[in-house]
């Protein structure tokens, strides 16, 4: 049986055509409005309270809708957006350095390796300026200059200074701004907050998304919740790799359940591997920690020239025996090449046996030259908190010995397919932030994720969802509706099944093994043979999971192993689709390198003739091959070119 079939192409019918700079304005004007008096009678469910979900729930509440918000954490303020370090891009051009909405649009389309939609990216660049205004008004304490105006920096290889930041905690500060706006709406009675609740199923009535099944993680109670529209803002699926920079609870369940109910899942194989993470210290490792990319502004990346030197202390390796490989291979950009290039280069030197640290999975990021050039106080002022964090985790002092870094999974560009209105293929189901397949194409630039999450939540969704809701109101649905009963029974059945297996392996042992398979075969570099093998391994492991997993306790209260088991079960299904997607995409682009598709000098070779499309996958039923639906990408403004950093 073939791994997939191909179905009808899919088209985004919501984006207006015509001049790109007026498309968003024209779409907002053409969108129907909801009468203010009717907004009060309409309910919107928002799942997730990160930058996208938190800002959307707050804004919808302000507009007068009744909002029901859900998060698995104990407080909406803990969503994983909080961990974003670097910054947020905006085309303010405060530096007068030639930035503009068009340049941000251009850089983002190009950075995404020509696999994103022009219309969406242009809108993102347009609203980026409003985000900064909004955050400042909320009291987000961005870094400022001595004159009191906002500071910016250049970030992730861009040539203009457009990244706004709040030390290394930009995500935290932006999220707290959204969280505080959300709490204000909760106090006003417009938003009903349900923390420690997990969405486990989508309820569809007459073809429309009308509700969700949730489990109260404290009491174990399963309820059906209803609304006129459902918004998923449940984040990315990097944890399919087990080890990633994601929080431990991040999962794909909300979007995967929606996918199984008919929402297309687009570009699942597009994952971002971040080059500067602290390497694994042993098999006990439970997660990986990112070190801000800004370190590459002053640190020099190297490994020993000879594999036999790898065991020696760094200080004992003379200058002539070191290979500053990024500077050597990419003289124009050196240590500042984009994330995907830096990550793959690190993997290559480690694969050659020249990696350093435990397991040979690490490269040096050396500040000795920077300390010599700038003095220790200057380095301390710039990176002090990062150096402390590094020392806390590794026990090594980076002022004395070079840091060790290695790439890790950081972000997922794939997600549920949405149109220009951010609506999925299920009417009434909207998907925002990292959970959708988004605006980043095959590779996300630094400081773009915060921008997209807040653009969707504050400015895009609150405008576009009205066009859908104005076609209501919809028939009243309650827990007794057959669709609700069925969805609820599906959830209860799965939980009962997980508890009844009583096997001899823990959930984490399966998750770790799945992660190994994904990292090995569907990580930075992929081959046809490897992916084919991975699919078989995943299927076998999934079967074993359903035979041998051990989940103790019951469903009647807090049961963290049960929560994890459900999430890992969904990761198995997603993992297979990721490998199928990666297998079918016989080109290298953005964050992923297909070994069979490279230039003579070993760089990624994109294939625009065959693959300039979004791969949107339709679920065809348990055990059935998924259906590929292609959305062609057209580039009217930014013409595809081969990226070169040499």
């Amino acid at each position: 049986m073939s791994l997939y079939t191909e179905g009808e192409p899919i088209r985004d019918t919501k984006a207006p055509d015509g001049p790109i700079e007026t498309r968003w304005e024209r779409r907002r004007f053409s969108a129907k409005l909801v009468n203010p008096a009717n907004k009060r009678k309409m309910t919107v469910i928002v799942v997730g309270t990160g930058l996208a979900g938190g800002s959307a729930a707050a804004t919808l509440g302000e507009l007068g809708y009744h909002v029901k918000s859900y998060c698995y954490q104990d407080s909406p303020r803990r969503a994983h957006s909080i961990a974003a370090q670097g910054g947020i891009n905006a085309a303010k051009n405060y530096r007068n350095d030639g930035d503009s909405v068009y340049r941000l649009f251009y850089d983002t389309v190009k950075g995404g390796d020509f696999r994103a939609r022009e219309s969406n990216v242009h809108r993102l660049a347009e609203v980026s300026v409003n985000i900064i205004d909004q955050a400042v008004a909320q009291g987000v304490p961005f870094a400022r200059e001595y004159g009191g105006l906002l500071d910016t920096r250049s970030f992730g290889g861009t040539q203009v200074s457009r990244t706004f930041y709040a030390r290394g905690q930009t995500g935290q500060q932006l999220l707290l701004g959204a969280y505080q706006a959300l709490e204000r709406q909760i106090a006003a009675g417009n938003v009903e907050m349900n923390a420690r609740h997990e969405m486990l199923e989508l309820i569809i009535v007459d073809g429309r998304a009308r509700g969700i099944v949730v489990r109260d993680l404290v009491t174990g109670e399963i309820t059906t919740e209803f609304a006129d529209a459902v918004v998923l803002a449940s984040g990315g699926y990097g944890n399919v790799f087990f080890l990633s920079t994601n929080a431990k609870g991040c999962n794909v369940t909300a979007t995967w359940r929606a996918h199984r109910k008919g929402a297309l899942f687009a570009n699942p194989c597009y994952t971002q591997i971040h080059p500067t993470c602290i390497p694994q210290s042993g098999d006990h490792q439970s997660k990986l920690t990112l070190m801000s990319e800004s370190l590459r502004n002053d640190g020099r990346v190297w490994v020993p020239k000879r594999a036999e030197d790898c065991g020696k202390p760094a200080a004992d390796i003379p200058e002539d025996d070191r290979d500053y490989y990024l500077e050597r291979i990419y003289p124009a950009f050196g240590n500042l090449v984009p994330r995907d290039i830096a990550s793959r280069a690190a993997k290559n030197v480690c694969d050659e046996g020249r990696g350093v640290g435990p397991g040979g999975l690490g490269v040096y990021l050396d500040f000795a030259d920077a300390i010599k050039r700038l003095g220790r106080p200057a380095v301390e002022a710039k990176y002090g908190n990062l150096f402390e964090m590094y020392e806390r985790i590794t026990g090594e002092d980076p002022y004395q010995v070079p840091m060790r870094i290695y790439p890790a999974v950081h972000y997922t560009m794939g997600g549920l397919w949405v149109d220009y209105d951010l609506q999925s293929t299920i009417p009434g189901l909207f998907v925002i932030g990292e959970a959708n397949f988004s605006d980043h194409g095959a590779n996300r630039l630094g400081a773009s994720a915060l921008m997209q999450g807040l653009a969707d939540g504050y400015f895009v969704l609150p405008n576009t969802i009205g066009d859908y809701l104005a076609t209501g109101s919809f028939e009243k649905v309650d827990a007794g509706h057959p669709a609700a009963i069925e969805a609820r029974q599906q959830v209860e059945g799965r939980i009962a099944k997980l508890l009844s297996i009583k096997g001899d392996r823990t959930v984490d042992s399966f998750h770790r093994e799945l992660g190994h398979i994904m990292w090995e075969y569907c990580g930075m570099e992929r081959t046809e043979a490897g992916l084919t093998k991975a699919i078989e391994l995943i299927r076998n492991l999934r079967d074993e999971f359903w035979q041998r997993v051990r989940v103790l306790g019951d469903g009647e209260g807090l049961n963290q192993a049960l929560e994890r088991a459900g999430r890992v079960a969904d990761f198995f299904e997603l993992a297979e689709l990721m490998c199928i997607d990666a297998l079918h995409r016989e080109e290298s682009c953005g964050g992923h390198f297909r070994a069979e598709s490279q230039t003579p000098d070993g760089e990624a070779q994109r294939d625009d003739e065959r693959f300039s499309y979004v791969a949107a996958w339709e679920y065809a039923g348990t055990g059935e091959p998924p259906v590929l639906r292609k959305e062609d990408l057209n580039f009217e403004y930014v013409h595809p070119s081969q990226r070169s950093y040499k």
Binding site: A58, T59, D74, S75, P76, R77, R78, H80, I82, A83, N130, D133, Q134, V136, A137, Q138, G139, P141, F142, A143, R144, E145, G147, G148, L149, L150, A166, Q172, Q180, A181, E183, R184, I186, A187, A195, V218, T245, A247, K248, S281, G282, H284, S286, K287, M389, I393, T394, G395, Y458, F459, D504, T506, D508, R550, L552, G553, G557, L558, Q560, A561
Partner: protein
């Protein structure tokens, strides 16, 4: 390393709870504290005993979920460090380690080491925000903020709402948490219009949620993983007196 853990086990809110001893062997000094507990939980699961429940998420010291009293100190022995960032190299072979949940009236235990910190959200709801509905914001550069004020506001805004301050306080007070938000917003020009009502309303919510009063014990700032200083409480008190005088 081989260690003896004494862990608080409590089946649910109604259960009385007790300390239970576990031996853990072959602990690597490079493990984080939570990875050591993961290892214990893997073993307990295979032995048929329910794993220890604890809150955790980002495991990089920023989400504020992890929350354990380790050997009597909130977040354990290392200064300016959350539980998830604490590593086993801080301990020695043969150590006995006591692990307990936050204990405070306002933070009831849900299970084992997991507590309900929803009271913090209630304090923010009462006024821990600047009213700026989406779309209403003026151009960001229309209001410059002196760098010193912005930096000080940022220092206060780094609070992660973990609740260590409450766990450490002999009165179970949430004053450091409340004061951090008052300080953050009160230092910024954008926060001025609501400054008086904010402090009055947040303090009322604080007291109503069951937190105790502040008696300047200073235990809160000593355990705070983000180093929020006691001076924020001084600022809160000044703001409160000023706001009360206007009523």
């Amino acid at each position: 390393m081989n260690l003896t853990l004494r862990v608080w086990r409590q089946k649910g809110p109604q259960d009385k709870g007790r300390m239970v001893s576990y031996q853990v062997t072959d602990v690597s000094p490079d493990m984080s504290f939570l990875e050591m507990l993961d290892m214990l939980n893997e073993r307990l699961t295979l032995e048929g005993e329910e794993p220890v429940a604890f809150d955790h998420d980002c495991r990089e010291g920023i989400c504020g979920a992890c929350s354990m009293v380790i050997n009597g100190t909130a977040h354990g022995p290392q200064k300016l460090t959350t539980t998830c960032q604490l590593h086993m190299r801080t301990f020695s072979d043969g150590d006995t380690i006591d692990i307990e949940p936050w204990r405070a009236k306002a933070f009831p235990v849900i299970k084992d080491l997991v507590v309900n910190r929803g009271a913090f959200d209630k304090i923010i709801q009462a006024g821990g925000f600047i009213s700026a509905p989406t779309g209403s914001a003026p151009e960001a550069h229309s209001t410059p903020v002196p760098k010193a004020d912005a930096d000080e506001a940022f220092d206060a805004a780094t609070c992660i709402a973990c609740g260590a301050c409450v766990a450490a306080c002999p009165n179970g007070s949430g004053m450091l948490f409340t004061a951090a938000k008052i300080t953050h917003l009160g230092l910024l020009p954008q926060g001025q219009p609501e400054r008086d009502s904010r402090v009055v309303n947040m303090l009322a919510a604080h007291d109503e949620a069951g937190f105790g009063g502040c008696t300047n014990a200073g235990e809160c700032t000593a355990v705070c993983p983000k180093g929020i200083p006691l001076t924020t409480i001084g600022r809160l008190n000044r703001d409160f007196i000023k706001a009360s005088g206007k009523r």
